[in-house]
């Protein structure tokens, strides 16, 4: 078996003495869609912040493409190909949609291919094309999420990490967003996805991890999860 693209081993993290994540270990193989499922406030976003370098873990290691990366600054990690697609509050509110996208291609490698890539983004997310000159803060929740996705895709990473892509959105918008994720998976992109809601990912995910109060309590694929009604009820409220 080959090395996974991303490997997390015995990770602990927390804020000001309060432990949020305990002994998290998981692998993300190249080309796979791995998900982390769990209720809000149980450390999902914290894990993504640790991987993307916005936060330093207190213990454990993170390896990417065979090299240890925990403790590196976020901008260095983007250059290595770790791209986080945050929730809608992580945009540049006073910039136009176009400038936000352009920021996604900030690094030289991505910048060189921006013009070509941005057209692809517009076909994938046509709503953005309609709104290129609008300021990000004037967008609706769904549009912001799409902009975040578009911006992340333009960074051209080797792994995409989605932070609760469906949170707070209308079902029809969620459908659109998962369509995009489905497309990305079909293209063979490596994806780590964090969600609260199991519905959309049971079919999609290659492997699902359940997170409860900062610990992984169960791991398996979608069918196993489906058959384990009890787990679903206990952790995800059915």
């Amino acid at each position: 078996m080959t090395e996974p693209l991303l490997r997390i081993d015995g990770l602990h993290a927390g804020y000001e003495g309060q432990i949020v994540l305990r002994d998290i270990s998981l692998d993300v193989p190249e080309g796979a869609l791995i998900t982390l499922l769990g209720p809000n406030g149980h450390g999902k976003t914290t894990l993504l912040r640790c991987i993307s370098g916005l936060m330093k873990p207190s213990k454990g290691r993170i390896e990417f493409a065979g090299k240890r990366i925990d403790g590196l600054e976020a901008d260095k990690l983007v250059a290595r190909g770790i791209v986080m697609i945050p929730q809608g509050d992580m945009l540049f509110p006073e910039m136009s949609v176009y400038d936000n996208l352009k920021m996604g291609a900030y690094l030289p490698v991505a910048r060189a291919k921006f013009d070509e890539n941005v057209e692809r983004i517009y076909t994938l997310l046509p709503r953005l094309k309609e709104r290129t000159t609008q300021l990000a803060r004037t967008l609706s929740g769904g549009e912001r999420r799409m902009l975040a996705i578009g911006r992340g895709l333009l960074s051209g990473g080797r792994i995409l990490m989605f932070d609760e892509p469906s949170l707070g959105l209308a079902p029809i918008v969620i459908d659109q967003i998962y369509e995009v994720i489905n497309d990305l998976k079909a293209q063979g992109r490596t994806i780590l996805l964090v969600e609260e809601n199991a519905d959309r990912i049971i079919e999609l995910a290659d492997r699902i991890h359940l997170l409860d109060t900062g610990q992984i309590v169960w791991a398996g694929d979608g069918h196993e999860l489906d058959s384990q009604q009890q787990i679903l009820e206990t952790y995800l409220g059915g």
Binding site: A74, D75, M90, M103, Y106
Partner: protein, 297 residues
């Protein structure tokens, strides 16, 4: 009518100088919440750099301002690496950096005084970049050519800064950092490098602003303190970090100061500005150009 023209002319001049100083302060605040109390001494140093270039090195006068701008930027970079760089993780960074840069500014000012006392003289020098009192008349009011140069210089620099911020990748990165630091890091912006860059830019502008000041008033080691405080007032009035607002606020402050100086007396200029800003803060705490009432607590 004469008074009116006089006020406009000198108000525009004050406004232009404060705008350059304030834009630098606002950029730095916007990028990483640093209020640089050594801004004033950098203005002073700018005037001395121009003097050094033109008078003591005998270099072409036209290049004195660019030389001062570059030197000011270098001082800004040094200031970053001996203060802010080590303090970014402090819990009260906003406050501790004020005290630290106040100390730095005072040390530089006292050092400059000492240096000049030993080697040259502390008495004012006249700014070689000044065109003197040569002037033309606008409806009986003499307008010196020097003012035209100051206006043109300020406009050119501000337009350049505007283009930098809106059209270049680095400028976009500066705005990105100011708007959402974590998001900027997530797209690969090396935020600390942006901090250095912004402080260099702001300090370079301060240096040029210092030359302008000295072209009316001579070069003196203590010349920067008062205009720095006025630049602070300008950015408070505009709402901290609001750069376009700072431009308008600089003009407003310049006009008010000029009006008070022309109509009442020189020394009440600053007091009038202060009253203006206090009233503005009570009436509209987010700054008079603030978009919304941002909580300032």
């Amino acid at each position: 009518m004469n008074y009116f023209i006089q006020i406009i002319v000198s108000g525009l001049t004050f406004g232009a100088m404060y705008a350059l100083a304030a834009v630098g302060l606002a950029l730095v605040w916007g990028a990483f919440n640093m209020l640089n109390m050594s801004h004033g001494i950098i203005m002073t140093l700018g005037a001395y750099f121009a003097l050094l270039w033109a008078e003591y090195m005998g270099m072409p006068l036209v290049l004195a301002a660019p030389f001062a701008l570059v030197c000011g930027a270098v001082v800004g970079v040094i200031a970053y690496f001996i203060s802010a760089h080590w303090m970014l993780k402090q819990k009260n960074f906003e406050v501790t950096i004020i005290i630290a840069t106040f100390g730095l500014g005072m040390a530089l000012e006292a050092g400059l005084l000492k240096f000049l006392r030993e080697l040259f003289r502390t008495a004012p020098y006249s700014q070689p970049l000044s065109l003197g009192a040569k002037s033309f008349m606008v409806a009986d009011v003499p307008v010196s050519y020097q003012r035209l140069v100051v206006w043109a210089g300020a406009i050119v620099l501000i337009v350049l800064v505007g283009l930098f911020l809106s059209r270049t990748t680095a400028g976009r990165a500066v705005r990105a950092v100011a708007q959402n630091r974590d998001a900027a890091r997530l797209v690969g912006v090396p935020v600390r490098r942006i901090y250095v860059m912004v402080l260099a830019l702001g300090s370079g502008l301060a240096a040029v602003s210092g030359i302008m000041l000295s072209s009316f008033k001579d070069v003196h080691p203590l010349m920067g303190g008062d205009p720095m405080l006025k630049a602070f007032i300008v950015i408070v009035l505009a709402g901290l970090g609001n750069i376009t607002g700072a431009l308008y606020a600089a003009l407003l402050v310049g006009m008010v100061e000029a009006a008070v100086k022309v109509l009442i007396a020189d020394k009440y200029g600053f007091a009038a500005i202060l009253i203006l800003v206090i009233l503005a803060l009570i009436w509209k705490p987010a700054g008079i150009f603030g978009r919304s009432t941002v909580a300032r607590q």
